[in-house]
């Protein structure tokens, strides 16, 4: 029976040496590009590979696209070095830069310098188009939905303008605002009547209307917010040490140099809904930081 005992023991041994396989691998420098896809996330996610290829060709380094759909996860991954270059929203970009000293703003789209949100309402709610910001007070007592809790255009700025008009979320029906999770979902829940009104990114609204995805009989815009700055490319500090001299500058040039000349570049700009990228400064985002602090989203 000794052989059987040995077999039993070796079975046990197999069990015990269950592998912890966190094997360190020789690290090649790879530029990890991340994004919080906000508009057209479906297509964006699958076609982001093209951006990675474009940057890889221009900069001669390995580039990998890392999709992130959770806002705080993207900010944290940027802080801890899991992401080198990220397409952030206004608020998340400021959060990321505050947590990562030395991080730089590289670029924004032409439209980001003059971004807007829209307030939409279900037609059966009785809400009328508003001419001035004070008209937002008509939203008191209504069921109101933001988008995602960290979205600049779907939550932060709308809440800021509401506050300016003297409306706080506790004055909505039920004593609070809802959070649909995304711009498209906000349209859906307002159109369905579950919520009477909501706020979202104007760009998403326009493209949804143009694509016929909105039943304009049921839901319409009641107010366009004033302009503010939103999305921007943010890059981690000290990339030059990993990828070579003046790498950050070259990266900025590569992004700014995207022109609708080759099919790939056309696709990339289309995906971002941009004609081109323009330089951006950190100072442009000071107002966002101020609003973020006022509303407790930046501590």
């Amino acid at each position: 029976m000794a052989s059987r005992e040995r077999r039993a023991v070796s079975l046990l041994a197999v069990l015990l040496c269950q592998g912890v396989t966190v094997l360190p691998v020789v690290a090649q420098p790879t530029l990890k590009v991340g994004a919080i896809p906000d508009q057209n996330p479906e297509r964006l996610n699958r076609l982001y590979g093209q951006l990675a290829d474009e940057l890889s060709d221009r900069l001669n380094v390995k580039v990998r696209y890392v999709p992130v759909s959770n806002y705080p996860a993207a900010v944290s991954a940027f802080r801890t070095g899991g992401l080198d270059l990220v397409w952030f929203g206004g608020l998340t970009g400021v959060q990321a830069r505050l947590q990562t000293p030395g991080a730089q703003v590289l670029a924004q789209r032409d439209i980001d310098a003059r971004f807007r949100s829209v307030f939409i309402a279900n037609t059966s709610s009785g809400l009328q188009p508003i001419s001035s910001i004070n008209g937002l007070t008509s939203l008191r007592g209504k069921r109101f939905s933001f988008g995602s809790e960290s979205s600049t255009s779907g939550r932060l700025m709308p809440q800021h303008f509401l506050a300016k008009a003297g409306v706080t979320p506790s004055q909505f029906s039920g004593g609070r605002a809802g959070f649909s999770g995304s711009h498209d979902a906000t349209i859906a829940v307002v159109q369905s009547g579950a919520y009477e009104a909501g706020a979202l990114n104007e760009q998403v609204w326009t493209s949804a209307v143009n694509n016929g995805r909105v039943n304009t009989k049921k839901v319409s815009v009641i107010w366009r917010t004033p302009e503010y700055v939103d999305y921007h490319w943010v890059v981690r500090p000290k990339l030059d040490q990993r990828f070579g001299k003046r790498f950050t500058t070259r990266l900025q040039k590569a992004i700014l140099g995207l022109k609708p000349t080759t099919p790939r570049q056309v696709t990339i700009l289309e995906l971002f809904a941009a004609k081109r990228f323009i330089p951006a400064q950190a100072s442009q985002y000071k107002p966002i930081e101020k609003v973020g602090r006022e509303l407790g989203k930046i501590r």
Binding site: N40, N45, V189, S192, R299
Partner: protein, 509 residues
């Protein structure tokens, strides 16, 4: 005259279904047809999922990440959970003639990891480990191992102690005695419960895709965010197929080990499979993330006392706790009571197959999606959240109940129906009745899970502990996060204490 008696076990199993009443009243009251178009396109999406090759390729890559993460997390959590479960069993300490208090302390300590949702663990681990595939594995490992440990410990404690004593009396060493007297019964628990945890791990790994680690969850979430239902269904169907394959595979495995010695080998084979799949999953992850590198612990800055005090004053404690508790109780009621209620309606075979199909469906549909779908034809109320959470978890409870019923001896039901009882009554007394204590026990564990899952549906009302936790996390307000996590742990501890007490009171005396 009717004399009220203490409710018996099968009644206790059906009573929680009463939670459906208030929920349905609120939901039906608020129902409207406004979302019909969108709901319609959701249904259309189900029958015509997108077959775009680019999408399918992305989904298959995502599935690999998800499965590898699930396998690794499942395997590690099972090994650790069984170990912790043994260590937290008073009986084993006493068998070795040691004082039992370490077991009790350990058991209480495990409430903390268990009370926090995988998603939150993922975000917290991301802070200290950076973006690494093992963040997702550990986010599964932490709550799962503690939940498994609790189940394992309870099962160990519930075994008849006389057999262990009889073997110890032969002069056997405590280890050999436990192996001989306890492991046969625990082996079948391992195969049955352990197998079921794999499916749970698959769902959790799916959810954890949103962190930038990739996976099916990422694709599902993005499709959901942009309401691309055709694309969403491609992912959901894939997940359904994997779930069904897993369930059938486990069923085959179980039916294989009927004979005595065979059963032991089956359990041993299962244990070896668990170990191997952990190694395999780990290697697979290393292959999928070649640049991941080794795990490094990054320094954390703990919030100081002052900021904790400030945060404590800011939080709306009363409404937060109240809403979370209501949500949990209603959802748990639905999750526990609905499966036996549906089965009771018609114990005939074809209907039961229909129901198990329904359970797979509600398990596969993630709660946030369920909330959105319910919202489209309703108004935002807590009842929506409770219904979504309750239905999702009733899928899990239903699966466990049906599995238990299949393995159980049917002679009592046959005896009752042959004495002229209706099929319903025969099923209720003959089949459900002996299954009830374990269904209630699993129900208690599920309530734990539901409590931490309130995080996922927190968005709907913009309220409750779950929403506050997400809001604090997205504001990087660590003081509030710490307080909220502690609150979750405290609620879990109280829940555990209550369920232990009530089970003792209702079932054991």
């Amino acid at each position: 005259m009717i004399v009220p008696v203490r409710p018996t076990a099968p009644a206790l199993v059906l009573l929680p279904a009463l939670a459906l009443l208030p929920v349905l009243i609120v939901v039906l009251n608020g129902a409207h047809g406004g979302g019909a178009e969108i709901l319609g396109s959701f249904v259309v999406g189900a029958v015509s999922p997108s077959m775009d090759p680019a999408l399918l390729k992305a989904l298959l890559i995502g599935l690999q990440v998800t499965v590898a993460t699930a396998l690794t997390g499942w395997s590690c959590s099972l090994v650790l959970g069984v170990l912790l479960g043994c260590l937290s069993s008073e009986r084993l300490w006493l068998t070795w003639s040691l004082p039992a208090w370490p077991a009790i302390v350990l058991r209480r300590l495990m409430a903390l990891p268990r009370s926090i949702h995988e998603l939150i663990w993922g975000l917290l681990l991301l802070q200290v480990l950076g973006l690494h595939p093992w963040v997702a594995v550990m986010a599964i490992l932490l709550p799962y191992s503690c939940l498994i440990a609790r189940v394992w410990r309870d099962q160990l404690q519930s075994l008849d102690p006389s057999r262990l004593q009889a073997i110890l009396q032969t002069g056997s060493s405590p280890m050999a005695a436990c192996m001989t007297a306890l492991s046969p019964a625990m082996g079948s628990v391992l195969v049955s419960y352990g197998g079921y945890r794999l499916e749970c791990a698959l769902r959790s790994a799916t959810l954890l895709g949103v962190f930038g680690l990739g996976g099916l969850g990422m694709d599902l979430e993005l499709s959901l965010k942009s309401l691309q239902f055709h694309e969403l269904w491609s992912g959901l169907w894939l997940l359904t197929l994997v779930t069904i394959a897993l369930e059938q595979g486990l069923r085959c495995w179980r039916s294989w080990g009927e004979q005595a010695q065979f059963g032991q080998r089956q359990a041993m084979g299962f244990a070896v499979a668990v170990g191997l799949s952990g190694g395999l999953g780990g290697l697979w992850l290393a292959h999928l993330f070649p640049e991941a590198g080794s795990l490094n612990w990054l320094p954390v800055q703990w919030p100081d006392l002052h900021s904790l005090q400030l945060a404590a004053q800011e939080l709306p404690w009363l409404s937060m706790l109240w809403e979370t508790l209501i949500l949990t109780v209603l959802a748990a009621g639905i999750a526990i009571g609905l499966p036996p209620l549906l089965l009771l309606l018609n114990p005939a075979r074809p209907w039961q197959h229909c129901i198990s199909g329904f359970w797979i469906l509600v398990r596969v549909i993630p709660p946030p999606l369920a909330v959105l779908l319910l919202l489209l034809s309703n108004q935002p109320t807590l009842a929506i959240g409770a219904l979504a959470l309750g239905l999702h978890n009733s899928g899990v409870m239903g699966r466990l109940l049906q599995e238990g019923l299949e393995q159980q001896d049917h002679s009592a039901q046959v005896a009752l129906t042959s004495s002229g009882a209706s099929p319903q009554v025969g099923w209720l007394y003959g089949s459900l009745s002996p299954r009830s204590p374990s269904h209630l026990a699993y129900g208690a564990y599920r309530s734990d899970v539901i409590l931490r899952e309130t995080v996922v549906v927190g968005l709907i009302g913009g309220s409750g502990l779950g929403w506050q936790l997400l809001e604090s996390l997205s504001s990087f307000h660590w003081a509030a996060v710490l307080l909220l996590i502690t609150t979750y742990a405290a609620l879990t501890l109280i829940g555990e204490w209550l369920s232990d007490r009530s089970r003792q009171h209702w079932l054991q005396s």
